[in-house]
Point group: C2
Chain length 187, copies 2
Amino acid sequence: MTAKEQSILDAALSLFVSNGFHGTPTALIAQKAEVSNGTLFHYHKSKEALVKTLYTCIVTEYQEATLDGEQDIESIKEKVRLLWKQSIDWAFENRDKYHFILQYKYSTTKQDKKTDQVGNLKKRFADITEKGIQQKLIAHRPDDFIFSMFEANQYGMMSYLLENPVKYRMPEFMKQAFTWFWDGISA
Amino acid sequence: MTAKEQSILDAALSLFVSNGFHGTPTALIAQKAEVSNGTLFHYHKSKEALVKTLYTCIVTEYQEATLDGEQDIESIKEKVRLLWKQSIDWAFENRDKYHFILQYKYSTTKQDKKTDQVGNLKKRFADITEKGIQQKLIAHRPDDFIFSMFEANQYGMMSYLLENPVKYRMPEFMKQAFTWFWDGISA
DNA sequence: ATATTGATCGACTAATCACTCGACAATAAT
DNA sequence: ATTATTGTCGAGTGATTAGTCGATCAATAT
């Protein structure tokens, strides 16, 4: 990806988060990215395509950050702890991107088959969950229910942490928060 | 509220949920509401104002539905159960409205001091939580953290139930889901 | 009866915006 | 050296749209 290409995505993210998709003219994105109007459309065939590309990039980054290093861990509980921690860390350190994901999720662009980009994380999580259930560590529940609760927990944690950022730096608080989550899904 | 006024709000909700705020021209709202363009602006001084009014109406309805009858119950646990159930029931039965709330929450209309309409429910919930903590029923945690977890749980439940609507009609599943939530916040 | 008020209409406008296009530059391929 | 390809520009355009305006109409008050 060229520097200009990246610069367009950066500008778009920042403007989308503060003004919304439709509140952000492509001309403004180009301007902020220090690129001409035409260049923007050289890289993205439409505004819609730009939004989608941005979403895909961000979700991919999120999933990689969340899954990073999971393979190196044996214990199911520690795997879950890692995913839980990393998903919150990423969202906390990349608020704009996290905000954008939610914004996109609940936006509705005409007849858009929101490609379920979350598939990868969901799949790996399901594997872990299943193994956990076999080992009688995790309660016997549908994979996707547990995954919903995982996402919900991140959602709630973020909503709280953004109001009380200081708590993020309190290991005891964070540790306890995970314990709650784990107790919730464990057998 | 006159019939036309209501009709405008209904049309707006339906169109917003399927096309987004900015994807919905005011002219289309007026058309669907079977009202002239001028009439729409007679009732709402701007599109922005219309969106805000709609949001306020919906959040108020949500809170009233969720809080309904809470005063008549003594037990803290049963109060929480009622709120938990009613908040999910309402969201499940009013998907468009629930979707709109999230859509609005993560939309960003320029320099908009998102008036924290949730205040009422949050306040009553905090009262209950506090009493629960005193009675050693609920774990000793900040009010707003528990409330975040309450909202997060609803978020997760909805995300799961919308994919698996049949589960909503299984009392055992729903009962267990509440138990999970309660175990999570109880002492 | 008359006046006042508010509801309703829909054509109109001024502005905005997504996207195009043709030109030019830089780089790569032959 | 010549051609092809790709990147870059920004002025221009056609379509869209939020919001206005002046005109009726209905209802109520005086």
